[in-house]
């Protein structure tokens, strides 16, 4: 059976649409609002969800996602509960792919085998380990694969060609191109350069290409929608979701950020086709 991620991205490609991937941190703005926030993102146009597993030391993340991790942990969120939220989400949404994104330490603390079993049981489709490059994957890759969890890898503007082929050989689901040197949510984006890099990456990639880090506006998303199979929005969404205190507010917050991006990427592809 092909995975939810493969299936969804194939459907999007078949209808010439660019997918929208929405990131949120499990437990933020509150543990009990995690599942409503996931549904809100889907309702607002997200095709794939990246669910952050909060960590005390998120070295690759910018201030927005750091603070969201801190808020979640302060409210008692942990890895077990993040997986429980996903399981609850799956009771009413068995269709939207969910990628678990986070850092190694909490996972290894639980045990890779135990994590893989629980993540599979909860309904996860992929795992993105931010601080685990392909060289350090060791036996973890097999363990994750055995439990139907696809391994999503990052590719940076600085990735060497030798490592690029190595990553392409291991990458499943989609490759996540880091659109800027720096941390999540940072800086300004040279979308022309990023689009050119995506086109060059396309020649080697065996799976669809997603692009993220620093995408905030509909204009940026539109500029990348022709060359990427998916656009990821994280910090901008997390920042807006943080102000919500109930399901209705989450719906409004998700719509405010995602709806314009949805329109932008869809219009770009339609215009391009026309």
């Amino acid at each position: 059976m092909s995975s939810r991620i493969d299936q969804r991205l194939a459907e999007m490609q078949a209808s010439n649409r660019c997918a929208l991937i929405a990131f949120m941190t499990g437990g933020d703005p509150a543990p009990e609002l995690t599942v409503p926030a996931m549904h809100a993102m889907v309702a607002a146009g997200a095709d794939i969800i990246e669910l952050g597993m909060p960590f005390s030391d998120p070295m690759a993340d910018g201030p927005v996602i750091q603070r969201s991790s801190e808020r979640a942990l302060a409210k008692g969120m942990n890895l077990k509960q993040t997986l429980a939220c996903l399981a609850e989400f799956r009771r009413t949404d068995n269709y939207t792919p969910v990628v678990l994104m986070g850092y190694l330490n909490p996972i290894e603390h639980m045990g890779m085998q135990s994590f893989a079993e629980q993540a599979q049981a909860a309904g996860a489709d992929g795992v993105l380990l931010v601080d685990c490059p392909v060289e350090e994957l060791d036996t973890s890759g097999e363990v994750l694969s055995k439990h139907g969890l696809q391994q999503i890898f990052l590719i940076a503007p600085t990735t060497s060609s030798a490592r690029l082929s190595e990553i392409c050989a291991h990458g499943q689901g989609f490759l996540y191109y880091v659109s800027l040197k720096g941390i999540t949510g940072a800086g300004s984006l040279a979308t022309d350069e990023v689009a050119a890099s995506l086109r060059s990456l396309r020649t080697q990639a065996k799976v669809p290409l997603a692009v993220g880090f620093g995408i905030k506006s509909a204009e940026q998303a539109a500029a990348l929608a022709n060359d990427a199979d998916a656009v990821v929005v994280g910090s901008a969404l997390v920042e807006r979701l943080a102000t919500a205190t109930n399901a209705a507010e989450l719906n409004a917050a998700a719509a405010e950020i995602l709806a314009p991006l949805r329109v932008a990427v869809d219009d770009t592809r339609r215009n391009f086709a026309a």
């Binding site: 030391d57 070295m59 942990n78 909490p106 603390h109 685990c132 490059p133 940076a156 060497s160 800086g187």
Partner: protein
């Protein structure tokens, strides 16, 4: 000694009996930066290329006689090396056992062993054509040592320091500013050393083209644990030669404090294959290992991944990094260098805990008995070295790394003892 430490000693002594079976160990890490299961390069993709670039630049520098020559003249004329070994005769007599010898890293320029590393990394930065240096600091010693070499080379320097530490270590903050560095207080997480390290990494990711990140300890992603160890190993190389020249034999034991572990690995490394030399790393037991308020990752932690390497860490039940406590800001870190994790697991070195009160007592003891005020970090090593000396014969030698001087700590000690200055 607390009962937890006693148990640990018993356990480690059992492990020590396996040492004879070990392979020669001084050749690690392997090509990918592993010390057994520890070390490695656990960073986000963006940092992989700059780390590779750094590794290659360092390998090339090692082969260049001009680099070594420049290091040597800097050590001699700027740092003041070699540092002497001092026989603490009154302290030895008072303990009534082994002779206590001190490797005087406290006499270095800037007052600690930290400069050994920063002059090396700064020369590397210059070779690589980097125009900006960044560093993280806890107590401020590494920040000062980085600001010092940056001033000397005329390179911009930015130091990340936890907001809590900025408050606690105002004098060092001012020293860095006098040296022309910019100090950025870090307000995320626990606002201490580990968060300063996170923030420095984030800066580096965004500015890799012109920026060199000087890590202050033997932790972080490969090649840092190796790089920092090699630059600090001058301490052990000198000590080994000084012992042979003066006493005609190697010491029976080496003792050094361990936070991240740079002064300890610097002393230990050239002795790793000398199986008759016992190695003792002294961690900060804070308010006691059973209190949960300490910084003893090897005595009380478990393996995990943080700051780019696999090593022993202090975490909660969910694998979140916990806040640490020590009277000494320089030991206040929830991880430890991967090579120490490996020496611990193979039993080549023994790691013990010394608590705040024991360290404070040793701080006073060395001051009154030998006229040397040690850094609070080094006082942990002194405290354990004194205990060890009592258990050994008078014709044996215990060499303690006096990694820094205590001038920076007089305010802390005065405050703890209710004395207004």
């Amino acid at each position: 000694m607390g009962s937890a430490c006693r148990r640990l000693l018993v356990r480690c002594n059992v492990l020590t009996s396996n040492i004879s079976k070990l392979e020669p160990v001084a050749t690690l890490p392997d090509e990918r930066g592993h010390f057994g299961q520890f070390g490695g390069r656990f960073v986000s993709e963006t940092l992989m290329a700059p780390l590779q670039e750094l590794t290659e630049a360092y390998e090339q520098a090692k082969l260049d006689p001009a680099f070594e020559a420049e290091m040597q003249s800097d050590r001699r004329d700027y740092v003041g090396r070699p540092s002497p070994i001092y026989h603490a005769q009154r302290l030895s007599a008072e303990m009534g056992g082994a002779q206590i010898l001190l490797k005087r890293e406290d006499l270095n320029h800037t007052g600690a062993h930290k400069i050994n590393n920063t002059i090396g990394q700064a020369l590397l930065a210059k070779r690589m054509g980097k125009t900006r240096i960044i560093a993280e600091t806890g107590a401020g010693q590494h920040g000062v040592a980085s600001a010092t070499v940056a001033a000397r080379l005329g390179i911009d320097c930015v130091v990340y320091m936890g907001a809590v530490d900025v408050q606690r270590q105002a004098i060092n903050v001012f020293r860095m500013k006098l040296l022309g560095a910019t100090v950025i207080p870090v307000t995320s997480g626990s606002k201490t050393l580990k968060d300063a390290l996170n923030e420095a990494m984030r800066d580096w990711v965004a500015n890799v083209d012109d920026t060199f990140y000087i890590i202050g300890t033997v932790a972080g992603p490969h090649p840092y644990p190796q790089l920092v160890r090699d630059f600090n190993a001058i301490v052990g190389r000198e000590a080994r030669k000084q012992m042979l020249d003066r006493y005609g034999k190697l010491p029976d034991a080496l003792v050094a404090c361990v936070g991240g572990g740079s002064n300890a690995i610097g002393l230990f490394h050239p002795f790793l294959d000398d199986k008759d030399v016992a190695l003792y790393g002294v961690e900060a037991a804070g308010k006691g290992l059973s209190s949960g308020q300490h910084a003893a990752s090897l005595c009380a932690g478990k393996p995990g991944v943080l700051h780019g390497n696999r090593t022993y860490l202090l975490t909660d039940d969910d694998g979140q990094i916990t806040e640490t406590h020590s009277i000494s800001a320089g030991l206040d870190y929830p991880g430890v260098g991967p090579e120490h994790a490996w020496l611990h697991e193979t039993g080549r070195a023994t790691y013990v805990g010394i608590d705040d009160q024991q360290a404070l007592a040793a701080f006073h003891k060395l001051s009154r008995c030998e006229g040397i005020i040690p850094a609070l970090e080094s006082a942990h090593a002194i405290a354990y070295g004194m205990q060890l000396a009592r258990e050994l014969r008078k014709d044996q030698n215990v060499l303690i790394n006096l990694s820094g001087r205590g001038d920076k700590d007089v305010h802390t000690v005065a405050t703890l003892e209710g004395i207004g200055l």
